[in-house]
């Protein structure tokens, strides 16, 4: 910033002939080049660790153990990925990564779909109906916003044991959808829907369900898509909860399994397979974010403000 402006000290508005869409006055060509340079440096910092993980996943264990690691991918891509996906890795009980990916997928989808489903329904009730206790229920749900699962781990774990939910998908999913974020977002959005729409629907003889199905859901499509991406990533990247609630190796999520594969105490960590697992664990959420970028960015920035 500072050096950009120092170089740009002389630039005045009058010097700038070119004005394009989104460009502002008073940004000289030099400072624009510097901006590109800074951004490229930023991209390198942000993307390099991910790239390097991929590079490591294509080398043999021997290459990895002799630093520095080459900057270009090696020739073990197929071998390493095949062994991890279908062969199983010793330290985590021989569970193949495909099982881990499936577990994580179930968890992420369960959290995303489950949270959206219960939240849409309760926001619908709170915004479009008047009934005794409405505000009490709203506050009961709202307060849950304040306490992330990290804060109440031990008692929640006890509930899981009592209900027999250890090592089950329900145990992985249910406690993480017990929060108010999505309900509040839908409530906010529903409140912006004009009353005339409901009036019109009622004049036409539509009941609450018709209104919900034919008017409310189509209007909420963008919000649901954005929230789906955010919740999917939230579910996929969970750590503390799956760590506690899964004991058996075949129920682990891929993030937890990755942690179990690494040991610095003894030398037999199979780093090439660890790196493959890391790439496999990063890839699905990255793809979701990249492909749904437009919705996700809009949803993230608009809903969280």
């Amino acid at each position: 910033m500072a050096e950009a402006a120092a170089v740009n000290g002389k630039s005045t508005a009058a010097k700038l002939g070119r004005r394009e869409e989104g460009n502002m006055l008073g940004v000289s060509r030099t400072s624009r080049y510097i901006a590109h340079a800074v951004l490229i440096l930023g991209v390198l910092i942000v993307a390099f660790p991910i790239y390097y993980t991929f590079v490591a996943s294509t080398h043999s264990l021997q290459t990895i153990l002799r630093p520095p690691l080459p900057l270009l991918p090696g020739d073990r891509f197929f071998e390493n990925y095949y062994q991890t996906l279908f062969g199983g890795v010793g330290r985590i009980g021989g569970v193949p990564a495909s099982t881990l990916l499936f577990n994580t997928l179930v968890m992420a989808l369960g959290i995303a779909i489950g949270k959206i489903a219960i939240s849409v329904l309760s926001a619908f009730a709170i915004v479009f109906f008047r009934f005794p206790g409405r505000m009490v229920f709203f506050w009961i749900i709202f307060i849950t916003l304040m306490l992330p699962v990290e804060v109440r781990i031990l008692p929640t774990y006890k509930v899981m044991v009592d209900l027999g939910l250890i090592d089950t998908y329900a145990g992985l999913i249910l406690p993480l959808i017990a929060s108010a974020t999505a309900t509040l977002l839908f409530r906010q959005f529903f409140l912006t829907i004009p009353g005339e729409l409901i009036e019109a629907a009622r004049v036409d003889g539509a009941g609450p369900w018709r209104f919900f199905k034919d008017i409310l859901m189509p209007l909420s499509k963008t919000n649901i898509a954005a929230l789906f991406v955010i919740m999917f990533i939230y579910g996929w990247t969970q750590y503390l909860w799956p760590l506690l609630v899964t004991n058996s190796n075949s129920m682990n999520t891929i993030v937890i399994a990755l942690r179990k594969m690494i040991s610095f105490a003894d030398a037999d960590t199979q780093w090439h397979l660890v790196m493959v697992t890391a790439v496999l664990a990063m890839l699905p959420p990255i793809l979701v974010v990249l492909f749904m970028q437009r919705w996700f960015v809009k949803g993230l920035v608009e809903t969280e403000k």
């Binding site: 120092a6 624009r32 406690p175 409901i198």
Partner: protein, 294 residues
């Protein structure tokens, strides 16, 4: 807000609320009340007798040097993560606001880490910087620097801060870009015509107008550093070496699940709850001011 048009149904709304209330009741209110209850009890080491001890768990926790150490670690960690993640993101966002071509490409390249689990971010950084075979550790040592985050507490802290801040840059970047776009261009052009250079325009116009975004991100980043980074600490350092990277959330976990001191762990949970409630209250005041209900 004008009085809303509503459906006259009397039973349906309860049925609609039921799924969420059941889940919230079983998985939120029940455990949260247990935490409150546990925090005033003390179990003997064999779990045979439980006695009511009032505030004594809290007193002991707050007087425990290990707890104070965790408070200090959490403060250093959170401030450093928020500072680096936000200032790097702001720099990149300001740069992205200046350029004309390639904005979309840069954004795409910069949002990747948002999708990565904090624990994986930590493990990737540890892979690059671990003393046994990390390439960067190798380079640091070739340069004559005694780098060993597995043995030296301050270096371990630097490593987890770097990983945690790195992961959060994308999120902050997206919000700063949105915040910058919301600043009226006419203001900046007026200042440019008056002869204000880019640095001056940034500090006198852009930065103050970004304050709501910055403040919002400050709360979000603090919450992130407090809670979401458990995975980084657990996966990379396990609170060590010594207790040099043990944060508050890590200590709740460690005392509750590893050391099995339930009363202390519950008391720590309650203290954390208070911290979160304060953070949420600050955040919600801000949100209420910003959002206009139709």
């Amino acid at each position: 807000m004008s009085p809303r048009v509503v459906f006259p149904n009397k039973i349906l709304p309860y049925a609609l609320l039921l799924p969420q209330l059941v889940i919230v009741g079983i998985f939120f209110y029940w455990p949260a009340s247990q935490a409150l209850y546990q925090s005033v009890l003390r179990e003997d080491p064999f779990g045979l007798r439980t006695t009511f001890v009032g505030m004594r768990n809290f007193q002991r926790v707050l007087a425990d040097p290990n707890y104070l150490n965790a408070v200090e670690n959490t403060a250093i960690f959170s401030i450093a993560v928020a500072f680096f993640a936000m200032s790097i993101a702001l720099l990149l966002a300001v740069m992205a606001d200046k350029i004309i071509k390639g904005k979309g490409i840069y954004r795409t390249m910069l949002i990747w880490p948002y999708a990565i689990a904090p624990a994986i971010a930590g493990m990737v950084w540890l892979f690059m910087f671990n003393p046994a075979m990390g390439t960067f550790a190798f380079m640091l040592r070739s340069a004559g620097y005694a780098w060993d985050p597995l043995l030296k507490g301050d270096q371990a802290m630097i490593l987890v801060i770097a990983a945690a801040a790195w992961k959060q840059i994308s999120y902050n970047f997206l919000f700063f870009v949105a915040g910058l776009q919301a600043i009226p261009k006419t203001l900046i052009e007026a200042a440019a015509i008056d002869g204000a250079g880019e640095t001056k325009r940034f500090w006198t116009i852009i930065f103050p107008l970004l304050a709501p975004t910055t403040f919002f991100l400050l709360v979000i980043n603090t919450t992130y550093a407090f809670f979401d980074t458990f995975g980084i600490i657990h996966a990379v350092t396990g609170g060590g070496p010594g207790k040099s990277t043990e944060t508050l959330v890590y200590k709740v976990y460690h005392d509750g699940f590893v050391n099995l001191i339930l009363g202390d762990s519950a008391a720590q949970s309650v203290i954390l709850m208070v911290i979160v409630i304060v953070l949420t209250a600050i955040q919600f005041r801000y949100v209420e001011k910003k959002v206009h209900y139709g």
